[in-house]
Point group: D4
């Protein structure tokens, strides 16, 4: 509201006309490019990374948003849920700045920053099949300035494998638990650490895994405290949130 | 079919008339008492226990079935899902032979036999709230001639509590895993033993536990081998099956 | 593992016998009181608060756990999901140390500590009916050493009410969004702050609110980044996790 | 935004100080009464009716909101989902102005206005059991200034009963179709009129009616154009929307 | 049981040996062809039609079953859920006797019999898209000796279209109601006739039609008496049952 | 349409005025008693039984409908889903003509007719708990002029009990299969008879029986031909439909 | 009924024979073209647009219906859910009159009329991915004579973007809210306008968005008054209904 | 724990250094190959078979795990859910030791052992379509040292077919019941044997079979004792568990 006060004072002092003030009070902090309204946060102007949900956008639309962001001073952009074909086309247009991570279906524009978070974001998976979602979380967290470590394939049916990493688990600032099937990993991790556990159910499994629903329900009912859950296969969301917490 | 052969031979030899043979071939191995058809298995005549599902039967109906069974030589009867009120009335009528277990909502008629199974049936619960269902499994297994041991409140969010019982778990012939909420106990137990784990989801929990559905789904998707599942809160079914396996 | 090293060194140096070492390596960090295994974390011995899930425990069982914790040096205990009747009985037995919060269905044993978290935990509700769940989150967070503020009844259908608190929202370290019905509050809050939002769906509503399921699904699909979700009506879980994050 | 312009001009002209302008620009159009934020719409100040969702509010809270509204010039208030007991208590406190409609579980404060809508809102039910929900819609629509007519018990299994009212149906400005079970009424009505049909699924039925879900799904899949749906048993919502359309 | 008596008498009279009797008493009324057990009902030996569920059988398996049936005197076979490709291959092998109905995904082996049922089976569809399922019902009924009539595209949103066929509807012995979307056709038909209505939900629709589930639920909750329901898209089942009723 | 022709001819011949013809063409075959539209079918005037769905009607409403029916020449009325309390009040008012069947929650007004259907309606239950629903089917069928027989407690887990009634099953004109839990009875019955099987899922069971949903789904997926399904616990619907088929 | 009176009077006066009257009274206001019954509404004869559901119709069938409509004086036809391939074939046959809108999967035959509705239909989307459904609503509304405006990509997670269009929102006669994921847009819009909001859930999203179900449930539970809902992705239905309301 | 004692004694006796002991106490019984942690159970070193879940692993990953297992002395490996294409590639790399079973989507590395279980594992299917899942169970059981027999296509709608195998059923040590659709096979088998029945629901069916969910629910609600259930299509799990029980 200091902005409003400043504008009001300028009006009072005659330095700014009523009409100009009106415009400035109404100024929309986004740019309208037809099919999308691109947010122009202050943070963007200060070099922070912005995110584009790539799923249902054409390569043209993605590039269009990237270019709008760049034009507004945003040097680093993360594009989620972008498949290889789209990525190839976007990469051709956006040049060397553009990097694609096929397993995670992510692309980045601009450099990965030096990690400046408090500690480490630890990403743990129950099985081998959960790795792509884990990778999405890892790259997201790294692109937002976090140190990231990973442990793969330590599902609860072989509890000794998981326990052999107890030290690493207890040292992390935030833990991201990525698991499909019965999703029990989150509960066990929640019991091993007194730091937040972000649970990501994956669509790994068959039959009554119901595309990740069982893992999701399991994680929501975790008997461990400190566990919260994001959408099925939402590695990005978990990585982003983990980074936020690591920057508290 | 040896019975059929025997009857046929007696017919051939004229020792048995066609009509008598016809009756014997058609003899129904149950007794019709109007509202119910009471099975008169051979096993019953040999002193094995029979089971009555008490849920929707009146005390009169329950007693009626018990008396029919007794009249056919069955001395030991297990009555499941019988509430305290019904049990009181049935107890009045059936006398000292009748014993009620309120926590498990079970009643027994006749003595508990000496255990003659192979080893031990181990019943494990995730929490304190799962104990009633565990008790139902225990009494059922004991009433069918099994040695039973129990470990309560060793949910996976405190994995060290569970692990401190590793020896007991590895020594059991069958393990019954009783858990609500996220039901992860079954998977961890399945990883700790190479014996069958019978998972019993319980209706313990709230919100998205959906009355045990989440635990059930979680258990069906266990990443451990050797785990199978029974209906929600079906302590009887698990105890009965555990006893069967222990008598292989 | 330094503990293990220390024990090993004492064994090597003959200061500790093999048997004593064996015992110490196996020492279970919990106490078995029959129906429950009470965790005796180091943290407890250092005055941190412990939590009891009261739902399906009798007042006797609750008191029994409290006393076991106290006997192990834990002075502050939070009891969740305890109804008024149980609370009265427990209070009679546990004395003046015991305080009951009927709206939140929580009880505490011991003093609320001075807040020592980083900033403020802000609890926001969509409607008046969500207040009990919000209260559960608030008391939990305060009992774990956090400063807590609240805004009630600022659902998204009256967006100006919510926006008039923009400053408060942007200043909080963590935001807890408590809402039933369509649960849209989490998304709007997620867009207003760049701090973690913990969404708590409530069972407020009727018909297709399905006891909170709609709010839950809505929150899981939030188009805002930084939102994670806990179980329906799980005010405790949200307050606990918010406190964790506020203590990063 | 004319208001903003006016304030800015007054600031420019020195008629209003920066601080006063700041306050006026920030003025929240609601009153905070602790557990609730009461909206003070302009419409209220002009005599329009306001609505209170009574479900989870105490009689005290309801009265408190009513009094706040009255204090801000709102003479007519509709209270939804208020049961008989609460209504009695609220009535005692709010006096003769207060009227209760037990079947519809609605209460009104202030007079019903003369109907000033375009035409007639017609409320049709499939069965006798749907009448309470229909009554909720009717009273809501009448309290918002609409002429209302009703036809009860004309379910599609007796299509001749429904067809005998074809004239009435074709003359209505909006039709509210209230039905449980298979909810087919909405489709048939949608085919008989070229005006909007608002479908209200009711929780009438048993077994696979799933508390109104079947009727809801059926109505959402209506093969007739011009049908839209509100929540199960949401007679208020349908009556309110019908009134809106009738005032286009 | 007369058969058993006859066998016993022959044994008594020495006309049949014990072993032969044993074999005859045990004679399995099916033929085992490895992957399938082909029923050899008496009805088959009398020229009635038999049915093969073609869905997951290979053309070879289908032909194998057909040939086994023919070898046992069955001249007329109906094959359901057989796609065009399989049908072509089967047709090549089975020759001119084989006829394929692509819309209904049915094939027949042998002649259609003269209708000998009581009256007419009437098949009615809500829309054009329901016709393939209707065709499956029609051919099935005709192949089992029924006169069949059809009315297509008379959904309830245009009730006058349906009513213009009132006479035909009232004259039918059985009515098969085939509809997707909201499935209301069954209720209206049930109200127009006092004969059985067999409702077939179809997977026609999108979104919340949930592949026919909405139509199914709607039909199960029909407020008309005399309506029963078969599985989604189960035209065969409806046609078969309609034929059964028409032959009462 | 002969009626219409007749009216037109009378108009042409001047025997009937335009206005009278208009009235006769429009004559509604129901009576409007405010909360309900009572159908006055021709069948009623000929002594057939009419049905009232009692669930959500008050005793006054029920009596009102009964009296309207009687006033229109209907001597026999069946009232479904009427509880004991309502029945007592209705019985007081309707006198000796009224009979109540508490188990089936049915009441009848007027005499049971002599059976005039083709053969026998056979009602079979899986367990003892299914009997109330079976009774509802039986009384409904008998009240509509059918001979009815019943077999209780012959669930498929004791297949020999069911098979011992093969003769009865094969002789019935229609079979009503009443079962909860896994609902497999319908499939086995469907395989034993070549007559229609009407399957009634019951809400008997617990946990994943989901109030009858599992039995319903199971019955809909019956691998036997000739099986159709009605709503959960809909004994009336099955009995009514069975009667219809038995009167083909 | 005036028509009936007129026919009767003509019969009385001898101007029309009984047979002709009979035919006229029975005249079906639709044309039967085998697979479909084409409605020949009066409205059609007056130049209004008619709608064909293209989903499961072949291009031949679509053209056939169009030609029947044209033959009955209907110049403007809207074809919904028609894919590009079908459209190409239909276009070839129907000529220059035919226009295809690939994004909306709609085709039109005949001219778009001048808007003659009351005000403006405003279509708002939460994201870029919702645009195709929005386009379906827009074209439908325009083709039925409405002025239409659109705002895209103003989801609630960036509430300032939405609020910057407050004026446009408040000026619209009807608002169509198109959103997937958590579907919160409808509630916020409902709070910003006092005009009807028609909510269209879209199948945009992944995991627990369940193909639009979450958005649907969210919208049905909107805490704003005046919101009603149509089927998932049913842009046509929303546009049609919006047009209806705009023509009140 | 004898291992720990031994290590401690060696430390005490100076035979082993503290550091070496530390390493040995921490020795992880698995090998980390990056994307997976391969368990090196003692059993493996003794020639038992190990299992790889092939679903989401690349052929390279599968071979990598196989080679790690072989390098640790494991000669026999079972690979589940591996499609033909992957199998071909893996086979090329792993050589003659590798055998693929396309119907069961299983591959084996190493010899099938001589059966050393107690008795026979009997695998029974309801239909022809269930055979692939049955084959998965059979090969799994055989590869783990069990004698296996099978009966195919004996669904409950032709109960005589099933009953003709009563002897085989009663002689088996464990029965695996494989069925889709209504899944009733498990209940009937459970009634015919007093040995454990492992029920495997299959995704065979259409419409409301919901990909095996109906069969699963049906099996969970079996009225027979001794039945437990595994995930849909989980032939491997059933075969493995059956083998375990057969080795009690």
């Amino acid at each position: 509201m200091t902005d409003t006060r400043k504008i009001l004072e300028e009006v009072r002092d005659g330095r700014v006309s009523v009409d100009e003030a009106l415009v400035r009070l109404k100024t929309k902090p986004f740019e309208d490019i037809g099919f999308a309204k691109v947010d122009i946060h202050r943070s963007i102007r200060q070099g922070a990374a912005e995110v584009i949900y790539g799923e249902s956008k054409t390569p043209e639309q993605i590039c269009s948003v990237v270019e709008t962001l760049k034009g507004n001073g945003c040097d680093r952009v993360l594009i989620t849920r972008i498949d290889a074909e789209k990525a190839e086309e976007a990469g051709r247009r956006l040049g060397t700045d553009f990097e694609y991570f096929p397993e995670a279906r992510l692309a980045t524009v601009g450099e990965f920053p030096e990690p400046d978070g408090k500690g480490t974001v630890l990403v743990v998976t129950g099985g081998t099949s959960d790795i792509p979602v884990a990778r999405e979380a890892e790259i997201t967290a790294r692109f937002h300035g976090n140190r990231v470590e990973s442990i793969y394939d330590v599902g609860v049916a072989g509890i000794h494998r998981l326990l052999s990493y107890s030290d690493k688990i207890m040292e992390a600032t935030v833990v991201v638990a990525v698991a499909g099937m019965e999703g029990a990993l989150a509960s066990v991790l929640g019991g091993l650490t007194d730091r937040p556990v972000i649970a990501v159910p994956t669509s790994v499994g068959y039959g009554t895994s119901f595309g990740g629903l069982t893992a999701l329900l399991s994680m929501l009912n975790s008997c461990a405290s400190g566990v919260s859950v994001v959408n099925i296969d939402n590695g990005f969301g978990a990585g982003y949130l983990a980074g936020m917490i690591n920057h508290t």
